[in-house]
């Protein structure tokens, strides 16, 4: 099976070859006598044919073969380039993408084009016999009956100069079962006439009866060897005075990697997930029984399960490299379409992502790259006027940071103007005219549905759908998206994503007698809720944490549960996107590792919950989606907007 990224390389190269072919054919129309152009076209076709055959696209390979043969006739001077030849060639060229995509040729158009090309060249082109892979195998004819044969061979000519290696031939013979190898040095000349490029040794060895003449031919396939194979009726007596050549076959190296169907990895991950649940249950039971042996065993199982989980996760990791071909093509096509020359740099291609994650990440990245070219990068003239190099720059980078992966899409384009964004947002009614928002918050408005500042809608982007979809996709992957921009200098979009989607570390909390899991990655700190720290402001309640006012929500209100009995309450300070929000809970129960179970179809409409987890005692704890819970609270007037007094700072990218 051909690896996907190799196939991608093929596709990328094909695109380049088709471009080169286009250029060659069009140039040839203006200069039909140009031999270099003919050679160029021929070479492009030849490479397309060769690659197609390598990648098993025999229809394409066959089609291009006819096309290529036509140009070979021109190249050899047997035919001339006419405008009709160019026209037909361009038609033929246009068939190639369809052939790659496997589109059927129901109307028989393809053979018709080639036939017309042949006719135009004035001579029917005979399709050469396809290259033979290997000569047909001889009829199995053992060289001897049961006892074997003796092989004598010597390398001819200046064998060492051309890199021939007798030791490799001997190794292959040894693999066939050769024994009693002897070297005959009688042809070795004296030092005065010795040619170091020649091998003056004649070897003799015994081969078992199972070895056929064709096997020996195979060994000597490339070697310039004079050899003779003589069947023997009885085992030759070993020659006592010449020690046998040490010809132990080297063991074949075991493959360093193996390929496994993705479905099996998914199945393994599922099993590991179940194991983690059972392990939590076992730990719980062991704790209750206080049997030391059981406790020790449970601890061991915990350790092993953690190791197994980590290994399984690693197996599911694939490098970003598998996606970048697509991004490169996209950037180059979009840059061409918009006539904005762009240098596209990719960093961290080897950064690894969970398989599921990377599949879902491709579309958002595509969207962000399109935006960067369309909205970010200016036209060359504008850039020049602003004192920037005419060539725009777009960077895509990926890196692993702890349990997260960071993906950044950066451009050195025009950036965004907070004032423009504000005006637009006000005009659209997204915010009030006097809303106090920081620049960072203003910039993040572009993630609101329907928001677009592009003056005109282009083919590439700008219909105002997308950025909100991008954000939703990223958040569905339990990631966050942030944007940093400096007017005139460019924009950076940062995606933060969890390393894996299947198992998370959670904080187990209790509200009104029910347990919930908060994803640990959004928990920043846990503080008590003393009355003196609570600040009432217009719009809601804030908590004064080390001088910073953090809005908070009371989870029991959001979830419509009974208020807790008076007493100490805890606030879990979470990070929902760019802002900090406190969540008031009744009790903190501890940390746990949970396997995310998807909610059933019936519960798909439930907001603020991203899944369920099964606890050690068999109970279920819903996993809260913090950002959604905060948004829900806001909609119901249960939480304040971010504090205007102490603006949040966006992190520098």
């Amino acid at each position: 099976m051909i690896p996907a990224d190799l196939l991608q390389t093929f596709q990328d190269e094909l695109r380049d070859l088709l471009e080169s072919l286009d250029r060659g054919l069009l140039d040839l129309r203006g200069a039909p006598q140009d031999g270099a152009l003919v050679a160029q076209v021929f070479r492009d076709l030849h490479t397309i044919k060769g690659n197609a055959a390598m990648f098993g696209l025999s229809d394409l390979s066959d089609f291009v073969h006819g096309f290529e043969t036509a140009f070979d006739r021109i190249r050899s001077g047997a035919a001339e380039v006419t405008p009709e030849v160019i026209r037909l060639s361009l038609l033929a060229r246009d068939e190639i993408p369809g052939l790659v995509a496997g589109q059927p040729d129901t109307e028989g158009r393809r053979p018709a084009i080639i036939a017309a090309l042949e006719a135009e060249l004035g001579r029917a082109l005979r399709r050469d016999e396809d290259v033979a892979e290997a000569p047909a195998e001889e009829a199995p004819a053992p060289v001897a009956q049961a006892v074997g044969s003796v092989l004598t061979f010597s390398l001819q000519g200046r064998a060492f100069e051309t890199g021939q290696k007798p030791e490799l031939l001997i190794r292959e013979l040894a693999a066939l079962g050769a024994t009693d190898l002897k070297a005959d040095l009688s042809d070795l000349p004296g030092p005065e006439s010795l040619d170091p490029a020649q091998c003056h040794i004649r070897w003799t060895c015994r081969l078992p009866a199972t070895v056929r003449r064709s096997d020996v031919e195979e060994v000597f396939l490339f070697a310039d060897v004079s050899w003779d194979l003589v069947p023997v009726a009885a085992p030759a007596a070993p020659v006592p005075d010449v020690p046998p050549y040490a010809s132990e076959p080297e063991p074949e190296p075991v493959a360093a990697t193996i390929r496994v169907p993705a479905a099996r990895l998914d199945a393994l991950m599922d099993s590991v997930g179940e194991l983690v649940i059972v392990e939590a249950r076992l730990t719980e039971l062991a704790r209750q029984s206080s049997d030391p042996a059981l406790l020790a065993t449970a601890e061991q199982i915990t350790r092993l399960a953690a190791g197994l989980r980590d290994t399984t996760m690693t197996m599911r990791m694939v490098p970003m490299r598998t996606l970048v071909g697509r991004f490169r093509r996209l950037v180059s096509e979009a840059a061409d379409a918009l006539q904005k020359p762009v240098q596209f740099t990719i960093e961290g291609e080897e950064t690894e992502f969970d398989k599921t994650l990377i599949e879902k990440l491709a579309d958002p990245i595509v969207h962000l790259l399109r935006n960067a070219i369309d909205h970010g990068i200016e036209l060359p003239g504008t850039r020049e006027a602003a004192g920037k190099p005419t060539m725009g720059n777009i960077w895509l980078s990926a890196e692993q940071a702890g349990t997260e992966v960071l993906v950044r899409i950066r451009d050195d384009g025009r950036g965004m103007n907070p004032a423009t964004l504000r005006a637009k947002a006000v005009a659209m009614g997204l915010i009030g005219a006097d809303a106090a928002l920081t620049d960072a918050q203003l910039c993040n408005l572009i993630f609101e549905p329907g928001f677009s500042t592009a003056g005109t809608i282009t083919q590439i982007s700008g219909r105002g759908v997308g950025m909100d979809v991008v954000r939703r996709t990223i958040e569905a992957l339990r990631g966050t998206i942030t944007l940093d921009t400096a007017e005139g200098q460019g924009t950076t979009v940062t995606l933060r994503l969890p390393l894996t989607l299947a198992i998370i570390d959670g904080l187990l909390i209790e509200v009104a007698g029910e347990r919930y899991t908060l994803p640990m990655e959004c928990v920043q700190e846990i503080v008590e809720l003393p009355v003196e720290r609570q600040v009432q402001r217009s719009g809601g309640e804030f908590l004064d944490i080390r001088g910073q006012f953090v809005p908070f929500i009371r989870l029991h209100k959001v979830l419509d549960c009974a208020a807790p009995a008076a007493g100490r309450q805890n606030v879990v300070v979470t990070k929902a996107g760019e802002e900090k929000v406190g969540i008031v809970v009744d009790h903190i129960l501890g940390t746990n590792q949970v396997v995310i179970k998807q909610m059933s179809k019936l519960h798909r409409g439930v907001t603020a919950v991203s899944g369920a987890s099964i606890l050690g005692d068999g109970g279920v704890a819903l996993i809260l989606d913090v950002a959604q819970a905060v948004a829900l609270a806001r909609r119901r007037g249960l939480a304040a907007d971010p504090s205007p007094q102490k603006p949040m700072t966006t992190e520098a990218a």
Partner: protein, 121 residues
């Protein structure tokens, strides 16, 4: 010690396939985009084997091998020529130019590895 193989081909797909296949088998693979580039790379560092395409811009495979064999560092390095031409005459030309082996395109990864092991060890 790992063996270093130079793949000389104007097609990135082929270079990539060679790099992937031989890389997985434990070879170190370096790449050159045509005969001229190949000659520069093969003479700048020690390589244990070369796989070269025949049909390339700037300098084709046969000219590359001829030039390589003229260079002191290029003598004794096994060279495999890739070609879509399976004719005996090409093999004759390749052998005379100093090629060690040849392979007819298309080939698969298994075949490539088999030839590499056969010629480079």
């Amino acid at each position: 010690m790992t063996k270093t193989v130079l793949t000389v081909d104007d097609s990135p797909s082929i270079r990539r396939m060679v790099a992937l296949t031989l890389g997985e088998a434990g070879y170190t693979v370096i790449e050159a985009v045509d005969g001229l580039d190949g000659l520069a790379k093969a003479t700048a560092q020690a390589v244990d084997g070369i796989i070269t395409d025949q049909n390339m811009p700037n300098m084709d495979g046969i000219s590359f091998i001829r030039a390589l064999r003229q260079h002191p560092k290029g003598q004794g390095v096994p060279v495999v020529v890739l070609s879509t031409d399976s004719s005996e005459s090409l093999k004759q030309v390749a052998r005379e130019a100093g090629a060690t082996g040849w392979m007819v395109k298309p080939f698969d990864q298994a075949k490539l590895l088999a030839v590499a092991r056969k010629v480079f060890g």
